[in-house]
Every structure is written in C-alpha cells, then in structure tokens.
Amino acid sequence: MTFDAVQRAAFAALADVLVPAAEGMPAASEVDIAGAGLDRVLRARPDLEAPLARVLAMRTVGDAMEQVRGAQRDDPVGFEALALAATAGYYTDGRVRELIGYPGQTYDASRVREPDIDASDPMLRRVAARGPIYRPTPSAGTRAAAGSRAG
C-alpha cells in the first residue's frame, strides 16, 4: 500500500475518534488499525485509497475530532471512505470479533441436516387450519376478458 507512516498515524488518530475505547471495547488503534487493518481494507477495496488520502491530507485547525467533523462537512465521500476503512479494519480483527461474538459468515453442513420445522408444528397447523387464502382462477365465464388489455 502507498500510505506512509505519517498518513498511517493520521489515520489511526481519526479512526480512534470514530472507534474509541469505550463500552468495554478497545480503540481502533489498539488493534493495529493503521497497519494490518488498513492493509486488509485497501487490498479488498483499492477504490477507497484516493478519498481516504484526501481526508488524511486535510488541514484543519483543531484536534482529530475537528478534522473528522470537517471531513464530514466538506468531503462526504472522503468521510464515508474513512468511516468504512476504520470500521471494516476494526470488525475484521480477530480479537474484536471475539469480543462482539460474531464468528463471521461460516459454512456448517450440520445446520441443515434435519429440518427444524414440519407440518406438525403447532403454529403451522394453525395456519393450515385457517384454510386457503388465495383467490382461485375465476370460472370460464369470467374469463371472457382473458387476454384483453386495460384501457
């Protein structure tokens, strides 16, 4: 990736505004968001590189929070790239996934081995007992209009 150490440090600071240490969760910078995290994101989404670089280059008076607010106000596309890079880098980290209890999208053939529902289910039996809910095909007489166009 083309981001240098200065840009990566800036990214870590801005990512920590969006993903701070709070609610028992680590900050973005605590899970190497600007190293392996950013590399992972940009490998998957090279289209984020240019708008992210733009935000990192913004000159704003004030702290990282001010820079984030400035990006949101003045460069919404760049801001969304920053937000996606920060959160995607964060939520693809193994430690974070463990903390939030998300295993990722996984395949397990045993999940479908046996259906967990059949027609004997009490709720389904009540649906069936209420009877048909469709309108049948009208009789041939009514079907005289078949094929006709709406006016």
Binding site: Q105, P115, L124, R130, I133, Y134, T137, A145, G147
Partner: protein, 546 residues
C-alpha cells in the same frame, strides 16, 4: 426448421441463437440442445468460479457493496452496461455472466398465485395473462426439480400446497421469532421456498447457511444456472460464447430475423447467423436490443409496431422494516434466501385503499458492517464514538428484516429507452430508465409498512427501523415486451413469438403482462420452459429465412 445438432459454429447458421445465458436462456438452451437443435448462446459476461465469491472471505462485508454489488453502475465492470437512472425512483439490478442474475439472486422461489394471471378479470386493472396458473403449474413443477427448490408443502396460499422437491431449509431462531408474531395475529406465514439445496442435488452441494447468497454462493449450494443448467446443456451439444455483447438483431427483406451481430471483448465484431433468434437479456437488456435493431422496415425498433417495446416497466418497489430484539437470534445465519414468508396481505382488499398486494419475507441482517449501513445520514454522535459500540451490542445478531415486495402495476409512463449520451464500453447506447411509483404503489407500501411494524411489535421487538423504498431494489425487471393475444396491443404472443417477426422470440421477464407481488424467477423459468417446449413441438411449422 427441424433441429440438427452439431451445426451452429461461428461460421455456420445455427438453428437457434439465444441472447443471454441467465434463467430463461439457460432453460431454453438445455431443452433445445436435448431436442437436437444446433443452439448457440451469446453471453456478454463470463463464468465466475465460485471460489471468487466473497462470502467465505474475511473481507466479505467490504467486498459485497462494491465488486459484487448488484447495481452495474456501482460495479462498473467491462462486462456490464451502464444504465441512466436519473429519472427513476429505483435502480435496475442485474449480473452479466453465465447464469445471469441467478449468480447474485437471493433464490426466493415464489410461484405466482392464481389471481396473478387474472388481474383484469378479478380487479379490473391492468391485464390478464394469456394462460392460467393451472396451465403453467406443470412447468413450475418441472423447473422446480432443476432449480433444486427446498420448501415445505401444504402452504394454504396455493391451491395445490406447492410441494417442493427438497425438504425445507431451517427457519432458525429468526424465523421462529417472526412466526410467533404472525401466529398471535392470526396471519399467514410459511417456511420460505428457496432455490437453495437443503440436500446435495445434481451439481449443487447442501447449503450450510453461510448467509451470503446475494453475492454468489461459494459453497455451490444456491441454484444458479451456470451450475444447474449449463453443464447439461453443453453436454447435449449447446455452444456457449462468453464475452459476446449483442448489439443488433439482423433481418432480411421478408422481415425475418437472420441472426445477430455481436462484439467480443477485443472489440471485434462478429455475425452469428441463425434460423431463430431468442432474446433472454432481461427486462432492460431485451428492449434495449430491440430498440437498437432499427432498420428501414422496423424504423421504431424491432417488433415494435405496437409501440410497446420498452414500455410498462415494472421493478417491484421494495420496502423493509427491521426489528431488534432483546435475545440473541444469530441473525447473520442464512439462508438469505427467505427464511419464512407471508402472503397474508397479498390479495386485493379494496377497503385498504389500493388494489393488489405484497409478499413479505424474513431475511437475515448480516454482520457488523451491514448493520452500520442503517445509520447512513445520522449525526456523527449517533453513528460513531461510544454509540458505535452500544448500537452494535444491542443489534448485532438480534434483528431481522420483514421485506415487502410490492406489486407495481404496468404503466406506459414507466419505460426503458435508449440514452442519447451514455454508452457501454463498446460505444453501444446505454438504456435509460424512466420509472416512478404510482399512488396505488405508495398507498400499498404505506399499508404494508404499518403492518410490518405491527408484526415486529407483537413478536417482541423493542425497536424498529423502516426503509420506505430501497433505491437499489430493481432486481425484478418485467413488462417491457408485453405478452398478449392482440398484435396491436402486445409485442409477443403467449409462446413468446414476436407478433411482427415470426422467427423472433422473447422468453425473459420482459413478457410479463403484470408483475404479481412475488419474486419472478420461478415464473420466468416456467414461462421459458412452456415457450421452448412449444417451439420444439411446432418446429416443422416454424418460418425461417431462406
């Protein structure tokens, strides 16, 4: 035309050339090849190896909304054509490649209901279809075996209960939670039928509920016709040319189609001569191609003496209500896919202030990044900072969506035309979409959204979030080459044959007289099967160019 397998190479006259290798083109190619026809199919995209799909990658949620986005304008791949959508409420969605949009579809397998074929007779609006549910039923049943449909029979929404060839997929915690609410309300629900294999079936493996159906199935469990139809079609002698963008259907002085002109990926132009042309390029691509195929004889576009080519576009406006619950529901699990569905408010009840209705289905809500997208446009403090962690803890794995597929009625003010400035990478004019929701549609969506909030509340949701109209929802492209009996008021007859060009056929969703409130692929495949069987049965009478 009698069918003579073995011909139809690049320099030969094919018995049949098919434009598009998606659902309808695949069904047609397989039947024609097995019947001994020399069939060539031209597909603008390529094969996708399932190992390329992002669902089994760590970066899945990053890749899904760009590289694998269903909107070609977002993907921007060379195989795609762009669509001009500045005058549309909804973006058309599609995939260009072998399998067509079945590569990225959600695989909801929904037969239309009997009333859907008799809208004019029953509700006094739009049109009746040229055939009934009962006439189409055997074709539904035949293609359901090919598409490995999993489901539970006995559904009282259908006259015959809609038995499916494979047992249903699990409904899981999410489905049971949604069903509990509808059960208390006394509303219809049923395990959702899906073209996803619950058991190994043909070329498909058993589903493992990865839940990434909408970006292609890396597990080869979802029915896409690159897996379900093309291997058999190729074995039977069909010829499939990928990277072939058809830009014109050619005609002779007798007004018969003589083949097509296509551009390969190097930009080189080719001609494929054929005795019969079948267009299966979806409800946007098909009218685009007909409108591109102007000639002195067909100055307004091919098969367009009715003026209806491109008109009456229907795309199924989609709204949704996501509910969040206190208990963990593992709501990132598949299928995605419909877990359960409801047809409680599908039929017309004019006391509601509109005609026709909508199908509901529960779909999972995915992982942490998918949840974030629900906060677009919210203030910074509500999206990020400590709120990010709080929101995630409250919502990840604890929510599900009631999605609402609303029937939009055909209106000539909604249409596909050729854009005057935008073009694809080969310089071929792009389609322009003009599409607005009607008052009937808006009233329908409002009613259904209110009921979906109610359903979540009764199921115990502590919070609901509503999407009034999803802009990227135009999966279902229908109506733009109307099927009917009268050549003055329709484009093709009940067998898909163009009234104006007796050896030109259209088999895709373009021919739908109405859209129903249900996902169309089951009906697209069944109608294509009905049409192609008729073509094969009547081959001796088929008029072809000299």
């Amino acid at each position: 035309m009698v069918g003579s397998n073995g011909r139809g190479g690049p320099d030969e006259v094919a018995d049949v050339v098919i434009v598009g290798a998606g659902a309808s083109g695949s069904v047609a190619a397989l039947r024609l090849a097995r019947a001994g026809f020399a069939v060539t199919c031209l597909e603008q995209g390529d094969y996708v190896d399932p190992s390329q799909f992002p669902g089994d990658k760590l970066e899945f949620e990053l890749l899904a909304p760009k590289t694998w986005h269903p909107n070609p304008n977002v993907r921007g791949l060379a195989d795609d054509y762009p669509c001009e959508t500045s005058e549309s409420d909804v973006n058309p969605l599609m995939w260009s490649g072998v399998g067509g949009s079945t590569v990225l579809w959600a695989a909801h397998w929904v037969r239309m209901l009997p009333s859907d074929f008799r809208v004019r007779s029953l509700d006094g609006v739009a049109d009746d279809w040229p055939f009934t549910y009962e006439e189409l039923l055997p074709f539904y049943q035949e293609v359901e075996k090919e598409f490995a449909v999993s489901g539970l029979g006995g559904d009282p929404a259908y006259p015959d209960g809609a038995e499916m060839p494979l047992p249903p997929l699990p409904i899981g915690k999410v489905g049971r939670k949604g069903a509990e609410g509808l059960d208390k309300l006394g509303w219809h629900w049923w395990p959702g039928p899906n073209a996803i294999a619950s058991r190994a079936f043909g070329n498909l493996h058993a589903c493992g509920l990865r839940g990434t159906c909408l970006t292609g199935c890396p597990d080869k469990a979802k029915a896409s016709t690159d897996l379900t139809h093309w291997p058999a079609a190729l074995d039977a002698g069909a010829r499939l040319v990928t990277g072939a963008r058809v830009r014109e259907i050619t005609v002779n002085g007798d007004g018969l189609a003589t083949g097509v002109i296509y551009v390969d990926r190097t930009g080189r132009e080719h001609r494929q001569a054929a005795q019969v042309v079948i267009v299966c390029a979806n409800g946007v691509g098909t009218p685009r191609l007909l409108l591109l195929s102007k000639s002195s004889r067909f100055a307004d576009g091919l098969a367009n003496s009715s003026g209806l080519v491109g008109k009456r576009l229907m795309m199924h406006p989609y709204a949704a209500v996501v509910g969040f619950y206190d208990e963990p529901l593992e709501s990132w699990l598949g299928p995605a896919g419909q877990i359960i569905h409801s047809l409680q408010f599908y039929e017309t009840d004019e006391s509601r202030g509109f005609v026709r209705g909508a199908k509901w289905q529960i779909m999972p809500t995915g992982g942490p990044l998918g949840l974030r997208s629900g906060y677009g446009g919210a203030p910074l403090e509500d999206r990020f900072g400590p709120a990010l962690h709080r929101n995630l803890r409250e919502q990840l794995g604890r929510g599900f969506e009631w999605g609402l597929i609303a029937e939009d009625l055909p209106e000539e003010s909604n249409y596909v035309t050729l854009d005057t400035t935008l073009s694809d990478t080969d310089g071929v004019p792009a389609p322009k979409i003009v599409y607005r929701n009607s008052d009937n549609t808006r009233a329908m969506l409002d009613f259904h959204l209110a009921r979906a909030h109610e359903a979540h509340a009764v199921s115990g949701a502590h919070k609901t979030v509503e999407t009034k109209l999803m802009r990227d929802c135009g999966w279902h492209l229908m109506g733009t080459c109307l099927m009917g009996n009268d050549p003055a008021t329709s484009v093709v007859d009940q067998w898909g044959r163009a009234h104006d060009v007796p050896n030109l056929y259209i088999y895709d969703g373009s021919v739908f007289p109405t859209s129903a409130g249900a996902n169309p692929t089951a009906t697209i495949a069944a109608v294509a099967l009905r049409c192609v069987k008729h073509l094969i049965e009547t081959r001796q009478n088929q008029e072809v160019p000299a």
